[in-house]
């Protein structure tokens, strides 16, 4: 079965769809940790995270024939988890998030690499205080190392919106972290 380890996700999905259902275990192996980490950034509850990831794998399997093999499977499965996470967040809507009024001064040129390192170290402390839409984009870009294209596919938003939302998220994040340090 080791021969399948070198196959791409899309190739394995194609084989699963053609009847080799046992190969779906490779997909679960490949994505379980990543999806749990992603869901954990958003939910911060191990039980809910496990439920979300399990349900997502089940939904993905049921709808596997609806997946366009020419697209990236990773974005598709992340999209399913995103929807599941959002359902749970909407279910427990009463959580309050820190809403900082700030002016988005675009003249400030942020050094991307510095911000990246700084953000990774502080992220876990600050993420919980951000609104889900900003928390999610920060998680995907900085913690899951997703590209703008992939984020666009996962969140179903245009590339321009990804850039704008990420920029806002970084500013909000910085503000929250600064407030937290003070």
């Amino acid at each position: 079965m080791d021969e399948f380890k070198n196959k791409s996700d899309e190739e394995i999905i194609d084989m699963v769809r053609k009847g080799n259902k046992d190969l779906y275990t490779y997909i679960i192996d490949r994505y379980e940790d990543k999806l749990k980490r992603y869901a954990n950034y958003m939910l911060r509850d191990e039980h809910k995270v496990n439920d979300v990831v399990q349900d997502s794998f089940i939904k993905a399997f049921i709808n596997l024939n609806g997946f366009n093999i020419k697209m990236i499977f990773s974005s598709w499965i992340y999209r399913i988890v995103h929807n599941e996470v959002m359902n749970i967040i909407n279910k427990y809507k009463n959580t309050t998030y820190l809403d900082i009024n700030m002016d988005y001064d675009s003249n400030i040129d942020i050094e991307d690499e510095y911000v990246k390192e700084k953000l990774i170290s502080d992220t876990h402390k600050c993420l919980d205080k951000m609104k889900p839409m900003y928390r999610e984009i920060i998680s995907l870009y900085y913690l899951d190392n997703k590209s703008y294209e992939e984020i666009s596919d996962i969140l179903r938003i245009p590339l321009g919106t990804v850039a704008v939302r990420l920029k806002r998220a970084k500013l909000i994040m910085r503000k929250i972290c600064q407030t937290q340090m003070n």
Binding site: D22, I28, D33, F61, N65, G66, R156, G160
Partner: protein
């Protein structure tokens, strides 16, 4: 997350898959869904073109004028723009289902749809197709029982004097 959890999730799902408890929806299910959505989208667009053209037709026949505002308001089919807005919402909802829609700017998509509808309606109006529709086509059954219009002997639309 523990390894036990990982094994549990993997085993649990694979057991369900192997036992047949989990089944993939067939391909035709998705193909049918796509076809229905596409037909709905095209239908919405045609409906919008028809209704916009109908509005243009009425305005064209009625003609603008300050003194006619009351009579225009009296006979103006308010349901047309309401339906048009509903169609736009329905069309946009359907459009979002398509993979490509989120890759483009949604405002450009909406603006393109509205422009295409207005241009199509204008062309239909300029070619006089709406006159034909009014006589023999889809508009022939519309009840023009207002104080503004009357149908002449030769089936032409006339303003009441």
């Amino acid at each position: 997350m523990s390894n036990t959890n990982e094994l549990e999730i993997n085993n649990l799902i694979m057991n369900k898959v192997k036992s047949g408890e989990l089944k993939m929806k067939p391909k035709w299910y998705f193909i049918t869904g796509s076809i229905i959505s596409f037909i709905g989208l095209i239908g919405s667009l045609f409906g919008l073109i028809f209704l916009t053209n109908l509005t243009m037709f009425i305005i064209h026949k009625k003609g603008p004028g300050i003194g006619r505002i009351n009579s225009m308001l009296e006979s103006f089919p308010i349901w047309i723009p309401i339906l048009a807005v509903l169609f736009i919402i329905a069309g946009y909802t359907l459009l979002r289902r398509y993979e490509f829609s989120y890759k483009k700017n949604r405002y450009i998509i909406i603006a393109s749809i509205i422009t295409a509808i207005l241009i199509s309606s204008l062309i239909i109006n300029l070619l006089g197709l709406d006159e034909i529709w009014f006589k023999r086509g889809p508009m022939r059954n519309i009840d023009w029982n207002s104080n503004v219009y009357k149908i002449g002997k030769n089936n032409n639309l006339h303003r009441r004097n």
